[in-house]
């Protein structure tokens, strides 16, 4: 059998997002996801605790990546510049053009369910907490560290929504940069 994706976990994610987009999140069963991915249900549960978690993998990896980039920013970087650098690095590493279709499907599925939105918001809140902790390590005091961390996550969320809606005209890193300039324009004008 020729595998069209390197790993069972990746196949399960793609299968799940495609089935959710086709038939709805509520209507899709783990059995259907496993069948489409060509694995057993038992294999599904080796990777994911439940149907919801298949939409939220690797959150911890991304969080570690983001916090690590903030920590590694040059000492001269301002808090917002350090966060912007981390977000743009994540865009280049995790959200390239080839991820865009799947990211869009996932975004639509999550938008369709308050339960999934809550889970997504919790993930974003944990990114903000990780950013704030990394900034405090750099000597940024509170509440400034938390505020700039939350603003950075707002930039990411807004830029991500534009990216998945955009038919890949522009890369996510460029949209993040533009969105950041927009944040500064609107906050600093006041």
């Amino acid at each position: 059998m020729v595998r069209w994706e390197p790993d069972a976990q990746g196949r399960l994610r793609l299968a799940a997002v495609a089935l959710f987009a086709e038939n709805g999140y509520e209507q899709t069963t783990v059995a259907q996801i496993a069948a489409r991915a060509g694995v057993t249900e038992r294999t599904f549960f080796r990777y994911f605790a439940d149907k919801r978690e298949v939409l939220f993998p690797g959150g911890h990896d991304l969080e570690t990546f983001l916090a690590g980039h903030v920590a590694a920013a040059p000492p001269s970087a301002t808090p917002l510049t350090a966060i912007a650098g981390a977000l743009e690095a994540a865009a280049a590493a995790f959200f390239t053009a080839e991820h865009q279709v799947m990211s869009r499907q996932r975004h639509l599925v999550i938008s369709s369910s308050p339960d999934l939105q809550e889970r997504e918001l919790l993930k974003l809140a944990s990114f903000a907490a990780a950013f704030a902790a990394a900034l405090r390590e750099r000597g940024v005091s509170e509440p400034g560290a938390s505020l700039v961390a939350e603003s950075g996550v707002a930039v990411f969320k807004t830029a991500f929504a534009r990216w998945v809606a955009d038919d890949a005209r522009q890369g996510l890193a460029g949209i993040i940069e533009e969105t950041l300039a927009e944040l500064k324009a609107v906050v600093c004008a006041s």
Copy 2:
């Protein structure tokens, strides 16, 4: 019987938050909440769909209040100033010194449970969406409207956490004003 609170709904909220703080959210039953409030379980379910909802009442009222204040801000107000005014008005109307102990207990209960945190984040996200819609009505374009709305909610969240931790030395409106100045300092320095 002398009622120590004007309404059953308010008594149920106070009873629930006190029991959650004493015994833990998971360990507390609706029957216990109703008994402490001096009403039947049936009365509980007349006001709240389930145990979780008793912690999240009036969210829609507050959302309408906030959006209404943004809409009513003077035409010269910048987006951030309009949001700041709405938050400070909400502080004065909903979060006075006498609400502080209950707000603190509620805050601690929510912090103890990812499920409750998710619900709280969804409520805050709906405030951000209401702010963004009210700003678009004022002619603010996207993504600026969403970004400043999210930043305003970040200010509220951060200020609220400081307020409940603060033993009421300072009113919430004053903390919001300080937190807003901090946001501008850290975003605009970059």
